[in-house]
């Protein structure tokens, strides 16, 4: 029986890169994202280009009723899974007090609730014949407190710690969990502008999404708990780990405030930022 890999946020920049990489490797795909039309378009093209089965189902993962409906549909289809890539996530950048409570809630619901419920549901539908691979898209921001992205960075920290704990819990059950922690990715024109605005630092910390997707799958297949794409980003994480976290928060805060006060500059973006895939 065909066993699938599920990708959430599949029509966004990074999600699409995972979908293409998996299809190119010959994996059967189950894609989900917010809107049906882009899913149908991507699924058809991947199916015909790579000759793999591609299923899809639109779902707003921030809504528990829609999540429940998705899980019911999958169960009714009697599909089994050997992998899950939790890509769907979002951020509303800016000061905490500038956010509405609805926006804060949406970040938590998508980044945390959505990912955890999808993980829980798919582990229940796993293909017992093989190892189950989970990839959670966290961020380099998961390692640091990030003013102006406070909720987002903390939600990614949640995913990182959750991934490590779950990996330990399920190691004996032939399940691996890999947390992907990338720096900023050039997934949308806005992100590209933001990287350009960071000058050379943005340039050298930025990785192409195709290489990130391929490297992440390699890391997941080897059962690596954490994957940080790019040697320089790994160095940043290591060095950052030596600095007191409260100091990092103050430094990031100062840098962002300065960036915000520069007139006519594009929207400020710290280097250690991962932009959302699902708006």
């Amino acid at each position: 029986m065909t066993s699938y890999v599920m990708i959430s946020g599949a029509t966004g920049g990074l999600g699409k890169a995972f979908a293409v990489e998996c299809a190119a490797r010959g994996y059967a795909l189950y894609l989900t994202d917010l809107r049906p039309a882009p899913l149908a378009l991507l699924a058809a093209a991947l199916g015909r280009t790579y000759g793999v089965p591609v299923r899809w189902q639109a779902c707003d993962l921030t809504e528990s009723a829609q999540r429940a409906a998705l899980f019911e549909t999958i169960a009714a289809e009697r599909v089994s899974f050997w992998g899950l890539v939790n890509v769907a996530g979002l951020d509303h950048e800016g000061l905490f007090l500038e956010q509405t409570r609805a926006r804060i809630r949406t970040i938590l619901r998508l980044n945390i609730e959505g990912s955890l419920e999808l993980t829980h549901a798919l582990l229940g539908l796993r293909d017992r014949a093989t190892t189950f691979r989970i990839v959670n898209v966290a961020s380099l921001a998961a390692f640091f407190p990030m003013p102006y992205k406070a909720t987002y960075a903390a939600s990614k920290r949640f995913l990182l710690d959750f991934s490590l704990a779950l990996a330990a819990e399920l190691a004996a059950d032939d399940v691996t969990v890999t947390a992907l922690c990338p720096a900023g990715l050039p997934t949308t024109p806005d992100c590209v502008d933001a990287i350009a605005a960071q000058g050379w630092l943005g340039q050298i910390t930025t990785q192409n999404i195709g290489a990130v997707a391929a490297g992440t799958l390699e890391a997941a297949l080897r059962g690596r708990p954490v994957y940080i794409p790019g040697a320089l980003n790994r160095l940043l994480q290591t060095v950052g780990g030596l600095i007191p976290r409260s100091l990092i928060a103050r430094l990031v805060n100062a840098r962002w405030r300065a960036a915000r006060q520069r007139p006519a500059a594009p929207a400020p973006q710290p280097t250690l930022a991962f932009r959302p895939q699902q708006a």
Binding site: T11, G13, K16, A17, A19, V20, E21, A23, A24, P38, L41, L42, A44, A45, L46, R48, T49, P186, P189, V192, I195, A196, Q203, T206, N208, I209, G210, A211, A213, A214
Partner: protein
Amino acid sequence: MTSTLIGKTIVVTGATSGIGLATAEALVRAGAGVIGVGRSAARCREAELRVRKLSQTGHVTYCTADLTQQVEVRRLAEAIRRLVAGAEQPRLDGLVNNAGTFTYWLALTPEGFETQWALNHLAPFLLTQELLPLLQAAPQARIVTVSSASHYHTDLKWDDIQLRRNYNGLAAYNQTKLANVLFTAELNRRLGPHASVRAFAADPGLVQTDIGLKGTPALVQRFWTLRRAGGIPAAEAARGILFLLAEAAIQESQQVYWKHGRPQPPSRQATDVAAAQRLWALSAQMCGCQA
């Protein structure tokens, strides 16, 4: 013995700026009707007005299509078929596959293809397939695909042809320009030596366009601004394309690659028949057409 372009209808993609716009302008000056294609509706309207002013007949129509998407290429082909069917002279005499891009960071289209591969190679491939019956209905027709001397610097990386895993914008661009030559050669081989439709790959030379300025980092923009200063105006590149569309004497020419109205030897990789056939089959699969 140049034959006339008067009364002919030519499709030009990427016709709102650079080489495409210059080609559209030169075509209407020579008395041809033009169906221009651009991505932005506003820029299409602007170019349509500008080109129509130069036209004696007023046969200038622009269509909006984002050619990075195959659904849009097919929709465009349908729109062109309707336009041609409704014209006084329902015929299509030429297609200029000019639209092209350079993308610094890897970006995937909604259909999951690398953007340069989709726009620079797959779009010409698919649009040509779609319009071929119409072109074959004309007494003589030409398909000109704008390639580049960039094609000399590469071969095709078959194990990762879109360079997704190891992306470099320029390497990916070079590959698409090689693909343009291979596609043209294979198209001619399939059409046969005495076909009414003939395909050519045009090397426009180094042209003063904005290709290196769109969505690229500041350093790339500075480099391109310096480099293009030594280039030729787009109108000069357009002359070479008009030659390939109009010159009767080259209808049965075995030369595939032309620069400024003269045949040039393409790279060794570009004359590899097996590679051309393999690329054709792969492109057909990617576009969902018959190989």
